[in-house]
Amino acid sequence: MAASGEKDPFIASLGRIYAGYTGGFVVFVILLAILEQMGVPDRIIGYLFVFLTIGVYAYIGIISRTAAVAEYYVAGRRVPALYNGMATGSDWMSAASFIGMAGSLYALGYGGLAFILGWTGGYMLVAILLAPYLRKFGQYTVPDFLGARFGGNMARSIGVIVLLTSSFVYVVAQIVGVGIITQRFLDVSFGVAVFVGLAGILVCSMLGGMRAVTWTQVAQYIILIIAYLIPAILMSAKITGVPIPQLMYGVALEKITVLEQGFRAAGMTPPPGVTGFHAAPFLGANGQFSGSAAFNFFALVFCLMVGTAALPHILMRYFTTPSVREARQSVAWSLFFIFLLYFTAPAYAAFGKLEIYQTVIGQPIANLPEWIKNWQLMSPYGVNWINIVDVNKDGIVQWGDFRIHPDVVVLATPEIAGMPYVIAGLVAAGGLAAALSTADGLLLALANALSHDVYYKMIDRNAPTAKRLVISRVLLVFVAVLAAWTAGNAGADILFLVAWAFSIAAAGLFAALVMGVWYKKTTDAAACWGMGVGYAFTFIYLLWTEFAGLDFVELFGSKDAIVNAAKQTVGLAKVDPELKAYAQKIVDNAASVKDGALSWFGSLFFTTDTVVLRGRTVARLWTLNNISGGIIGVPLSFLTIYVVSMFTRAPSEAMMNFIDDIRVPRGGVRLVDQKEAVE
């Protein structure tokens, strides 16, 4: 199979095809720039960007249609390492990376770098622990591996449940992202925008499955990286005179530090949610070193890294390379292509912040730059994108008066740097490419789990090929419509759930996958228990701290923490009257409140407290934000697998042979159970 890839005329001409495509895109952007200069209205430019790029993706999707199972599930296993790297890059980088990341860095400064580190370092784990072995195993899905290694349907089902939970919340967030961009550039309602985006996603993936998604994702990567780098380069040239943003934003960091000092000296405070010390690590609210902040930083890095290495839509990309060797190289290429965007994001944040601190703060409100006025309009999150709140009513924009939604940092860069509208359209096309490509990968992972793992492997083993592909496509459309419906109805309220996907996938899948390859004595029962315990513990922990924070702190918190949580609950804007009355009673009887029954556990490290987030009183065990819930779930899952393995019957000789086979690149794989073979 590997050998035939080299002679394949399509694979051989990939370089020419995508070079031509890139050139075509550049010409297209230049043409639109000329049209803009000739007076074509912005709205038309926006339409052309959105529809023409989606049109190209649809074209690739349609010419890549296939009726072969191996093409549909793993793109025929002939995607070269470099191209699989690009496809993984756009599969990985979502709307949150493209639009949101720079904004988080703007707000959090050093603290935001946890996302940069966490979303890149995980690929090291993928490369050394999992990708080559999953590729050698060589079937279609991650649950396939769990089923073959851990004795069938029980392990497979648990894997499918974890996959469905983590991927579904993730795909809903992508569709919200598509909706926001489409809404802004097509000027339609959010509900309509979601379904326009949905059509864009489906034409890419429905007919050609993995094959179509792969070649579309490569195309999307090229657009998103061009769209991300160009505004940053122009911004850097404008501010520093040198068009290399990644090297030059040091200058901006230096100036920001000086400006921050000046603001503090003038008695000003930063706006809520924005750090007052951009480059300084691990600070509490008072600007001093905080152990809890450091703990949260490292816990978040850990959860994002392990989550990366456990998300099935990423792992399944490495099933598509021609060989084990290329799977390894492909992980390195993936990280390289992701790196290109991630090491530019802090430059956006620094240049944006410098520009705002220099030209906006301290100016009269009546006298703001034009681009600020363009963004003083309603966002789908219920506040203005840029919101000037004149706290002391002096008509001057103070440091704390300037409230900016994180997404604006990237979206408004073209205007800040005084670039023509065509660049704004380019950024929109890039954001759309990022959101569509991730949504495609996730939908495919979801639909494949349902069609291949649930339907074919567990319900109808004798289904003919044609029927399996029909079922796959029907399920793909069904999941896509369900996700779009959820996005349209729950919308931006559920975006915070994305962060949970990492902890859930990490705690549910990572330990079982790694131990399955690296620890021969892992037994079937141990893996099932490990996945089940990790998943259930983490999911329950997240729900409990998020939606019943007061209840959580009553068990794990000290009496002060309980009273404080009750006060926060009483003060919430929207709260269930019953809960409010209950909290009021605690506040009234504060003197008689006792420490929670497990408060000794809650104060093992730091303390257990609550913060008001997203309109709820959210509990924090050991002051840990629940986004990092996996920090307990992952070790617990490993421990469970290790301990249960000691008390259950060791794997059979045939299983040992199977593990030996997946550890070595050469040769076939001797399956224990032939029912687990594909096709």
């Binding site: 940069i116 580190l117 990644q246 960091l253 480059a279 300084a280 690590p281 086979d661 070595v664 032939q674």
Partner: protein, 101 residues
């Protein structure tokens, strides 16, 4: 190359790609490489950032070094480390003759 050998068929069940002794030596070397890269990961992902506060006192081209490491330095280590890993593991494969045809 067949994707899946038949375990019920005694011929293929005994025809592992390499003999057990070579397999063990290969896996020992592969595991060692895994631990080396895992140590790189732990250093670049976590270890170096424990000292972010102290490193920030060193400023290069405007970048406080602690900030730079988290924003770019560690990422460069990850990328270069992965290409090195892929190359090194290939060499090990070839040393034991277990590379794919």
């Amino acid at each position: 190359m067949p994707l899946v050998d038949n375990a019920d068929d005694p011929k293929s069940a005994t025809s592992a790609a390499i003999d057990a002794e070579t397999g063990r030596a290969y896996w020992r070397k592969t595991s060692n490489l895994m631990w080396v890269v895992l140590a790189m990961w732990a250093f670049a992902g976590f270890g170096v950032h424990f000292f972010a506060g102290a490193l920030n006192k060193i400023v290069v081209m405007g970048f406080p070094l602690g900030f730079y490491m988290a924003a770019q330095g560690s990422l460069i280590i990850f990328v270069v480390g992965l290409f090195w890993f892929a190359k090194r593991q290939n060499e090990i494969d070839e040393e034991f003759g277990v590379q794919e045809d």
